[in-house]
């Protein structure tokens, strides 16, 4: 799957990764937080580590910042082994979940903190701080203390502070978690914009799949210390490699069955579903089907895969409606349809008998 901009160094065997985790394991006592992870991240990427809390995504990021050491394995940054390099000597900066702005310093001094540690000349520090303030549009707030700023402003100060030293990699730990939904969406686009302007490689940790889909070039979906799948957002959505990933990213119907002669046998008295996939003959498989790829109609359609059912619930979302349909055998399938017509003229309602249908390529056959 190629990005629309043509930026896809991960498909290029000649490309050298900027960050490379090599068989990294991290244990805390008897608990394994990271289990043998290998991962390459390329220059200029906006890479997301996505997973539920406790999956190890933050630990993986903190190891890059130098706050945790790998128990086993190697982490390299631009070819340099990071083992034993303290946090203050790494060309990596982090934006903390709590923002961690120094409360006793004003915005200006917060942004200048890292530059002063490098022993930069006064005028150089001033020029860089001004540049950063312009980047995050906070020039007017330079003299304010952090507790005089709104959540969104604090977030931008934290971003400016961590970008001031022009790090090779910027780490973002749940950067938008503390913002309300509207502001979060605006800030997502701002982040992408700033990432493109500065050309810095961004590594973001988030549990919000929508956020990861919006901002990143590639996403690693994590669970219990392992990476389940690494792919671009469209690939992750359209070709999940497991039920876990299919379920974690967006909404999905999973129909269990047996793989026989290239189709999914799911019920003794219903026609098998035709799907594209590779699985062993007689293997238990799941058909992963996104709700928006399932068509709903009152008349029996002329389609390869169709199944009758009864509408038991309708969720009206404004632009879309989600229909929950019970098919023979009792499983509930979600189908989504755009509300092109006004509510009053909609012809499907509760307890109606309807037909669900989808094409051969609509679903993905999963074996795990």
């Amino acid at each position: 799957m190629t990005d629309v901009t043509g930026f896809a160094p991960w498909d290029d065997p000649q490309a050298t990764p900027l960050i490379s985790y090599q068989n990294v394991t991290k244990t805390f006592g008897s608990f394994t937080a990271i289990n043998d992870i290998s991962l390459d991240i390329f220059p200029g990427e906006f890479f997301a580590l996505l997973g539920p809390s406790g999956c190890g995504k933050t630990t993986l990021m903190r190891m890059l910042a130098g706050f945790e050491d790998a128990s086993q394995g190697r982490i390299t940054l631009a070819g340099q082994d990071l083992a034993g390099v303290p946090p203050n000597k790494r060309p990596v900066n982090m934006m903390f979940q709590s923002y961690a702005l120094f409360p006793h310093m004003n915005v200006w001094d917060n942004i200048a903190f890292g530059l002063r540690r490098d022993g930069l000349a006064k005028d150089k520090v001033a020029a860089r701080v001004e540049e950063m303030l312009r980047l995050v549009r906070l020039g007017k707030f330079a003299q304010r203390k952090p507790d005089q700023l709104s959540g969104g402003q604090k977030q931008r100060v934290a971003l400016a502070r961590s970008l001031a030293k022009a790090p090779k990699v910027l780490l973002l730990d749940e950067p938008l978690g503390a913002l309300d939904k509207k502001l979060r969406q605006e800030t997502q686009f701002e982040l992408v914009d700033i990432q493109e302007k500065t050309g810095t490689t961004f590594l973001i940790v988030t549990h919000d799949q929508e956020e990861a889909m919006t901002v990143s070039t590639r996403i690693a979906v994590m669970d219990e210390g392992v990476i389940k799948q690494v792919a671009t957002p469209p690939a992750l959505y359209e070709q999940p490699n497991s039920r876990y990933v299919a379920d974690f990213i967006g909404d999905v119907n999973l129909i269990e069955g047996t793989w026989i002669n290239g189709s999914l046998v799911w019920s003794a008295d219903q026609a098998p579903f035709d799907a594209q996939g590779t699985a062993g003959q007689g293997e238990t498989v799941w058909l992963s089907l996104r709700p928006e790829k399932v068509a709903i109609s009152k008349q029996e359609p002329d389609a390869i895969n169709k199944v009758p059912g009864k509408v038991i619930d309708i969720a009206y979302l404004g632009n879309l409606s989600t229909y929950v349909v019970e098919i023979p055998g009792g499983q509930k399938i979600k189908a989504q349809a755009a509300n092109a017509r006004r509510l009053a003229s909609r012809d499907i309602t509760w307890n109606d008998t309807v037909w669900l249908s989808w094409t051969k390529t609509a679903g993905v056959v999963l074996t795990e």
Binding site: N88, M94, F96, S98, A100, F102, P103, H104, F113
Partner: protein, 259 residues
């Protein structure tokens, strides 16, 4: 504002009368004209004058302030270091034991602290005097400082220090530029607490003192044994004022930060 019920007003009055009546009496009688401590003979500030003319009291006051200043400062440095190590050191071996041990001297009877320090000073052949009082006071004040500072450190957002390290600060710079300014009110309040404790300590100072080093509480105690002079009342009033200022400043310093 809620109004107190009659019962609460009465309890409050009795409680506070019980606490503050003796102190109030001392303060009132320090302005007594009469030489007799218990008979009111009209208003006068002459005993304050007499007090400041008395070389022995002035000397003792100077020793007390000097001792309190030095021991509070030593206790603050050591106590802050201990608190930092205990809160920030992670779960090192014996941490629970050490943090328990830092509280122990708080409940140790003063007589035992005094006696044990005296025996120590004799054993190592240290000449007793102002210096040994400073050491002894620093020892027990340190516990108070470390309790105050560690309670502030436990609520301190660790990521602030990590952010400083991440931005290129060394461990010492992170402490000096980020941690210390933020916990400064707690440190200051620890210092003031130590200063006040040292100011009014009698028992420990009596054990470890030597010739020429008489603190104010020791001077008062020996004077009172010969009969209460109204000068003592004047002196006590001044001490009460000093201690009150210290305690109020300390609590204001902590409150302003947490607020």
């Amino acid at each position: 504002m809620t109004r107190l019920s009659r019962f609460n007003v009465v309890s409050l009055t009795f409680g506070f009368a019980f606490l503050y009546l003796p102190i109030l009496l001392i303060m009132v009688y320090s302005f007594n004209e009469s030489r007799l401590v218990t008979v009111w003979g009209g208003f006068s500030a002459k005993w304050y004058g007499a007090l400041f003319a008395d070389e022995r009291f002035l000397n003792a006051a100077w020793v007390t302030l000097y001792v309190a200043f030095c021991s509070a400062t030593i206790a603050t440095v050591l106590g802050t270091m201990a608190a930092y190590a205990l809160v920030r050191g992670g779960r090192f071996r014996g941490r629970t034991l050490f943090s328990g041990m830092i509280y122990a001297p708080l409940v140790m009877p003063e007589v035992i602290t005094g006696l044990s320090l005296l025996l120590l000073f004799i054993a190592i052949g240290l000449d007793r005097g102002g210096f040994t009082i400073i050491l002894a006071h620093a020892t027990f004040c340190m516990c108070y400082v470390s309790v105050v500072v560690s309670s502030r450190l436990t609520t301190f957002d660790r990521s602030l220090e990590e952010a400083a390290l991440d931005l290129g600060a060394t461990g010492w710079q992170a402490f000096r530029l980020v941690t210390l300014p933020i916990i400064a009110p707690a440190v200051l309040s620890g210092w003031l607490l130590g200063f006040t404790l040292s100011l009014d300590d009698l028992v420990i100072a009596s054990f470890v003192t030597g010739p020429g080093a008489t603190t104010l509480p020791m001077r008062i105690f020996s004077e009172v044994r010969l009969g209460v002079s109204p000068k003592i009342n004047a002196l006590s009033t001044i001490l009460i004022a000093l201690v009150a200022i210290g305690v109020i400043t300390a609590s204001l310093a902590t409150k302003r930060k947490s607020g």
